[in-house]
Symmetry: C2
DNA sequence: CCTACCGATCGGTAGG
DNA sequence: CCTACCGATCGGTAGG
């Protein structure tokens, strides 16, 4: 379990992320993190200012990565159905490829104190807003047909959230194939003609 | 915030459920629970055996309620599309009407110790299995058209999970109307002809 | 239902 | 990077 050699802010970040995901923020002590890195707990404070800062850093890196991946996936894509498919795929891919960060973001917002807390909520809301924008534009263009774009966008964003819990990277499907399935579900939810997967 | 008079196992259960949902199991002390009930922390042990037992009780009650509601909703319903719509509606209704229990079930399985833990996981899996059964029967009957029934059933089960976070009981829609929207999404995901809501 | 109290553990600091 | 240590808090018990 331990992976000594070369303690760094990065290494502390990774150890904390994994422990926070499996045991929770309050269920993880600085000593637990230190043990993974084979050092004493006080030594961690040479690399990170506090446990709370560590939590914020983990969530902030995760949100920036997700927002960046969403932007990259939509670059140059003009068809609104393609946009929704790609946005859904990149969202699910992020869930599958970064299960620990996503778990921390999902379960530990309440453990974040308030200078940090609102900043993370704002980024999460910005992500949701971008999905909603796509759904609304598709409805306005007559490409989508769904009674409540806002509810539909929440459903799309949420439906893949727990895929990391059952997904097996060495199983029947690749992460990309699972993401493609969810992309087709998204198009079906918004009532786009032809939501069947490749 | 406090609600004194008549401390009972029930009252402790309710106070603990609300605090576990908002602050987490490890972030809630027995003293916190006692304060809501306006008694001292040791007094709680006259009503409940331990904090861990309290957590298990909250999750077990929630799972039994959800499983019972699912059975009741499906009673006498023979059409497989109606079954999926009703199962999805009752699932989302449960999420909206019991937000605190659902939050605890979603975030605190890791805080449950192992005699209790597996029993809760088994009940959760049984719930998911019943949704999957409906999707598989619909596919076998040719009523549904979806490439991966298993993935579809996970998506259906998950898509309403966070609805409690944005749903406002005094807002534009009733819980029943929101549930109906998700019911139509479920039918669309499985490729049933006509998934548009009433 | 209370006060008094137990051993254990926590995040973080001092000082080197 | 370490040991030694701080004040605070934890779940739970004793005893009434």
């Amino acid at each position: 379990m331990s992976k000594s050699t070369a303690v760094s802010p990065q290494a502390v970040h990774v150890a904390a992320r994994n422990l926070f995901a499996s045991q929770g923020y309050r269920g993880t002590s600085m000593k637990d993190i230190a043990q993974v890195l084979a050092v004493s707990a006080p030594s961690l404070y040479n690399h990170v200012p506090s446990k709370q800062d560590l939590l914020h850093s983990i969530m902030n890196v995760a949100m920036d990565r997700a927002l960046g991946a969403l932007s990259a996936a939509l670059e140059g894509v003009t068809d609104v159905a393609d946009q929704l498919r790609r946005a859904t795929e990149v969202t699910v891919l992020d869930f599958l490829e970064n299960p620990a960060e996503v778990t921390v973001c999902n379960t530990e917002i309440r453990s974040l104190e308030d200078p940090f807390r609102q900043a993370i909520i704002d980024k999460r809301d910005a992500y949701g807003r971008r999905i909603l924008d796509i759904v609304e534009r598709g409805c306005a263009a007559g490409t989508f047909d769904v009674a409540e774009p806002r509810v539909a966008s929440f459903a799309i964003l949420e439906m893949g959230n727990n895929a990391k819990a059952w997904f097996d990277p060495r199983g029947q499907y690749t992460a990309g194939e699972v993401a493609a399935l969810y992309g087709s579900f998204a198009l079906r939810i918004v009532g786009h003609r032809e939501g069947v997967s490749p």
